[in-house]
Symmetry: D2
Subunit: 164 residues, 4 copies
């Protein structure tokens, strides 16, 4: 029986003095504490912080890497490194493998993951991330907005429990 | 020497009575008229309309399909059908192969293509599409907003001419 | 620090009365016993047998699935299911993520994985699998032939230890 | 109505003094002469020769590239360059988009394309390429062996005409 996985997406180019780092650290820690495997893109910034948080409490971490082990190795907090060699096309893999996902801050890659998650029916929680507004539509947004890391985790856990 | 390609992205589930259809038709026609190959996802809605427009003036069209010829064949206005069998991961291929791209309206798949285009340095023009606002940033948006199909084409052609 | 992974590739359409099943069961068990994570394509036949073998001795198993959880769920012996939705393009991911791989019997998909492993410098061990002969070349084959499941595991472990 | 495409696969590292070069040149020329679009991996060696042959007689050529335009641009005989950025995973795209394919000589990447073609029901013709022998099976091979470039083209054209 495969295990429950929650993705954490965000920019790779932030440092540990940025707000996103602290948020990702808490998110990773809380998800692992609640028994979820934490899946990231396996690189730096938010991906490292979330994985580090999960490992601090004995969790399991997966990294879905865009490159190969030779060109872009996983950060040192990744237990299971899946090297795709597919560049950004791997973003589609990230969202398909998660029961829910949390986007923290984020650059353009994160924006694409938000779109892919919504397309693929992966519940997505936005924490201080992109504000996305459909054109001329009154339709109900299918994404969730969180104000704190703890709220983001609670929303993700709730969505994951509902199943996909 | 490979030819210049402009992508047209948008929802597959609109019909020819929707505003996006007419916009995509004009965009496809204008791009082909100016000598560009029109690349789409090869399916319905905006993808069909843009390809149809291009063919009306004797242009060439490419479709990068998410499925296979058996499961999701290209629409009848696609000259060159590339079947990826990769699902949404093909969205990353779409943006990498274009000199510039135009997003018209759009659902979640289009949102992901906007993110992937920005990530991949493919100039992207938004025509009545998603309004995307980065979190807490004063940074200059790197995307272009067009008000009409003609303006979208002019912006795309200008961006393509600058090279990538 | 990411963990060592050995792939086991083979046909999905064999049953537990076929020779490959028993071979895959032993291979999975031995690899897990020696501390390796067992990676497969996550579906039936050889993939199920290898994962079952690994779980019998408390090992960890990964499945890299060609479809989605809705269309082609992982077999019940997969701990970590990575859904790519990419069809056979996922075969390239399989070989990039392994320290070594063992091909057992095999149909056409396995043949492609042998080629991709060789291309990607993933040491590959053939156990009662395809006999592949380069055209008109006296070159030294870079693959390994094993006669028994135990020998296949020994060769894979040796190759994995040498690093990639 | 999308056009008929025949793939030509082979090693990228051969030069114009190798036998494969001349064979690929003839194959590309003949395919284009008979009205087929020639699809290759877009890089050097066999891929360049087949594309060159097609262009000599006014044909159309497609290249499905493993990298990006920045990292691995298409050879100068490619009309339509599709950049996947997906590495070898693009081999699966190559075979899905062809009505038939011809493998000439070939290294490991070609071997993977032969496997993927067979898996994906793309008729595949081997011209001085890998000799592949299934283990312990008396089953009828589903691939075709050609002795000359002309015979390879005739077999590919026949298979493409039968449809997929």
């Amino acid at each position: 029986m495969s295990k429950n996985i929650v993705g954490v997406f965000g920019a790779g180019n932030i440092s540990d003095s940025d707000d996103e780092w602290q948020a990702a650290l808490i998110v990773g820690r809380e998800l692992a504490h609640k028994g979820f495997i934490v899946l990231t893109g396996g690189l730096g910034g938010v991906m490292t912080a979330a994985s580090k948080g999960a490992k601090e409490v004995g969790g399991t971490t997966i990294g879905i890497l865009p490159g190969t082990r030779e060109t872009s190795p996983a950060n040192s907090f990744v237990d299971i490194a899946i090297y795709t060699g597919m560049g950004e096309a791997r973003n589609a893999v990230n969202v398909k493998s998660c029961d829910a996902a949390i986007a923290i801050g984020g650059e353009y890659g994160t924006l694409s993951e938000i779109g892919l998650a919504l397309k693929g029916k992966c519940p997505i929680i936005l924490l201080n991330s992109w504000n996305i507004i459909p054109y001329g539509e009154a339709k109900q947004p299918e994404w969730h907005i969180a104000s704190t890391p703890e709220e983001a985790v609670a929303l993700a856990v709730g969505a994951a429990a509902e199943g996909r």
